[in-house]
Amino acid sequence: VIAYLGGRADEPTRDVPLWQLGAAVVAGGAIIVEIVVAIAAHEFGGGATVPDTFGAPEAVADRFFSRYLLAFEAVSILLLIAAVGGVVLGSRKPSPRVDEPETFPQREVRPPELELQAAVMAAETAFPVRHVSADERDEGR
């Protein structure tokens, strides 16, 4: 994805306000300091002694299919939904850009010949002849 996006993917931290940078440093640093202090204050033992099969695939699978079966099923359904969503997001046809109208506005079809004809008829005859477009005619009805 980074290769697809090219240089746009890695925008540096441009025009980040200073208070936001400070808040980020404070929040991230606070978490680190807090946990490090908590670790330093606590006296850890050597840890439990575990058999060689600890963390073996058989043991994890046994947990998954007995005690945590519901979580296993929920994650499988979540992954299925995510796969469907990824396909939908990836295969959608690109819709037109926001700044470009979908269709160009229809140019008003107004043949100049009809107006010219009306003017010629008005000049040749005594009657005031004027070209009436289809819209005006429909409005008159």
């Binding site: 996006l5 890695d10 980020a24 680190i32 998954f64 939904i81 995510a82």
Partner: protein
Amino acid sequence: MDIGIEYFAGLSAVLFGIGMFGVFTRRSPLILLLSVELMLNSCNLALIAFSRYHGEQSGQVFALVVMGIAASEVVIGLGLVVAVARRKADLDVDRMTALRN
């Protein structure tokens, strides 16, 4: 040679802090996703380390579940990033305000 639980917990805290810093400061949604991944994986590290420390294997099952959630999050997140990048010039979470177009 055994490495103490303190080092695993400390590394997990440092990774989480770095991820949090990234989420706070970065604007590109791709980098935001990477930062969130960093935080999730620091939690995974802590889960596995304390699972070993307590001799309880449930932590490993939790870590696997977290991996599944992270995978689905990445699928949707990257799909959104690509869909937005296809029609918009700049990738900036502050400017991604519309659900349509």
